[in-house]
Subunit: 337 residues, 2 copies
């Protein structure tokens, strides 16, 4: 395999902000990229209390970021969408090229506008909402719509752990811990794949399964009642509640698997006589490690665009596939087309 | 839905060269695109003998093409890869922006270089090898490799009609007609999906099924022997031969279905401890109509790139997803991410 080589033959220097699961995945993905190296990890915690995997890379307090301007080519912002990123991404885009995985769908246009303004003022490049949904799933929705305009698109998530639903169960009195799995309904997927273009309510597409650790002496019937009747989260769905011990939960459900399917069922021909189906699927043992791997490929594309003079905010819709690949143009033409 | 609007509010004028199955699919896909219209169809046959679906569009002899320079924004070249496109695409790229679906994988680098030179000399833009394989399957191989560099990729084709294999059987003495289906082996796909990264010979990935119409009195045993022992085409594979009547073949096997799966099975984590799988699948009633639909989306992207001043040869690796979509940027940001 031949790799794309930068003109000055150097590696891109990446900084990571935060050190949760996503950041840990990014650290690993950067280490496995032929064209990047990790420059520093920034944390809001006491840096001496944060042990990172890469022993030769400094862990710095977030307050040190401004002094690193010019030392890093791009920052991966591994922070929360709810409260951190809406502030952090526009703020940092003034001084650094940045990538985030902002995933509050309804807030994307506003977030985009703010990051775009800030990045342009600073002469930087930025990408928001990288990952797989938003991200690769969005790409596939777009490609499929462009190719099959007469059609209908379905997204199924899972089987995978939903943090939001797990947290909601943990807040119920008597619950010590919970892991909630979102499970796509196979019959619904099959109907979509057969091209039937069914009308499907949310509850017809997914089931929910909760593994719950109850406190000693807790009223299990009351817990079940609270879960299955919780509006929006569980009430509309077929939900199964299974009580297990904390040990079982830690042993059997310690991972963060996820995945899903984007299916577009369309028709071509003058009378719509031919069914055509496009499906994109992910089956992930580790959601954060995979998301981080996507962000690192986006970073590569973004840095190449910056070298060609592009600034401002982008999404994965604006990246060419070639720019995301570490391989040389010759390699891609000869072996990937 | 809001659509992308060109500055001068006009539609792209597309020409189609050839009028076989692919061209017919393109005619239909253009008619369903909000931003394009068909300007003319060019044929090597006697134009008066070619009935196209769009009654108001002229059918012209290929020799009239030079006189249409400036009247058409782009030509879709719907001709054969084996002998037509290697000559036609570089030749026409001097006077027109062009797209082809050149699919001789080994010849791509040379074809690209020749088309690139010609397009640049003429100030035009060109795309080669559009479609689904090469095309969408290539894109997915590239994306998946960029995201999961530690992994292995598998392509399964089918269930679908292979023209090449059908033709090979038709050349056997005693055979009137044949339809050959390529069928992926489910056990092999399952092993790949489980992340086992198996070593698979071609014959372990696909089976072949031939529906054969024999001439009256032909030696059927000899036909079967010729098929299953045909080097490369059938000898390495598990092949089933089924004799049917011409009527059955025309009734049950008149379509050109195809499809397939690109699966990358990778690993992330410092010890490669997490399996991650990316799969892209197509299930197509009509291979040529689907391929044409992809080419039309490529045409849109290419014409936008041309408007921004880009010339020369490109592949689907060089198109941003946003450029392929007929939807406005605002629509994409608000509803597709």
């Amino acid at each position: 395999m031949t790799f794309f080589i930068r003109k000055d033959d150097t590696m891109y220097r990446i900084g990571i902000v935060g050190y949760g699961n996503l950041a840990k995945g990014a650290e690993c993905a950067i280490a496995k990229s032929p064209d990047m190296k990790l420059g520093a990890v920034f944390t809001r915690r006491d840096p001496s209390a944060v042990q990172i995997h890469s022993k030769d890379v400094p862990v710095l307090p977030l307050s040190k970021l401004p002094s690193m301007k010019g030392e890093l080519d791009l920052l991966l912002l591994c922070a929360g969408s709810a409260t951190d990123l809406p502030v952090m991404t526009p703020e940092l885009a003034g001084d650094f090229s940045v990538i985030d995985s902002f995933d509050t769908h309804a807030g994307i246009p506003e977030h985009f506008a703010r990051v775009d303004r800030s990045a342009k003022e600073g002469g930087n490049i930025a990408l928001i909402s990288g990952g797989w949904d938003p991200g690769l799933f969005s790409l596939n929705r777009l490609y499929a719509q462009a190719i099959l305009p007469e059609g209908r698109e379905y997204t199924f998530w899972g089987t995978g752990v939903s943090q939001g639903h797990s947290d909601a169960v943990r807040r119920i009195p008597g619950v010590l811990d919970c892991r909630q799995y979102t499970i796509p309904v196979p019959e619904a997927m099959d109907a979509v794949r057969r091209g039937e273009q069914p009308e499907l309510e949310a509850a017809q597409k997914h089931r929910r399964h909760c593994y719950v650790v109850a406190k000693e002496g807790a009223d299990r019937q009351a817990i079940v009642h609270s879960i299955v009747n919780m509006p929006n989260y569980f009430a509309p769905y077929e939900t199964t509640v299974e009580f297990i011990t904390q040990e079982e939960l830690l042993r059997e459900h310690k991972g963060l698997p996820h995945g899903g399917h984007v299916i577009r069922s369309g028709r071509t021909g003058w009378e719509g006589e031919n069914k055509q189906s496009i499906e994109f699927s992910l089956d992930l043992d580790s959601n954060p490690e995979f998301t981080a791997s996507v962000l690192v490929a986006c970073a590569r594309a973004l840095l190449r665009m910056k070298e060609r003079g592009q600034i401002g905010c982008y999404t994965m819709f604006d990246l060419t596939p070639a720019d995301m690949s570490p391989l040389s143009r010759e390699e891609l033409l000869a072996h990937y087309l």
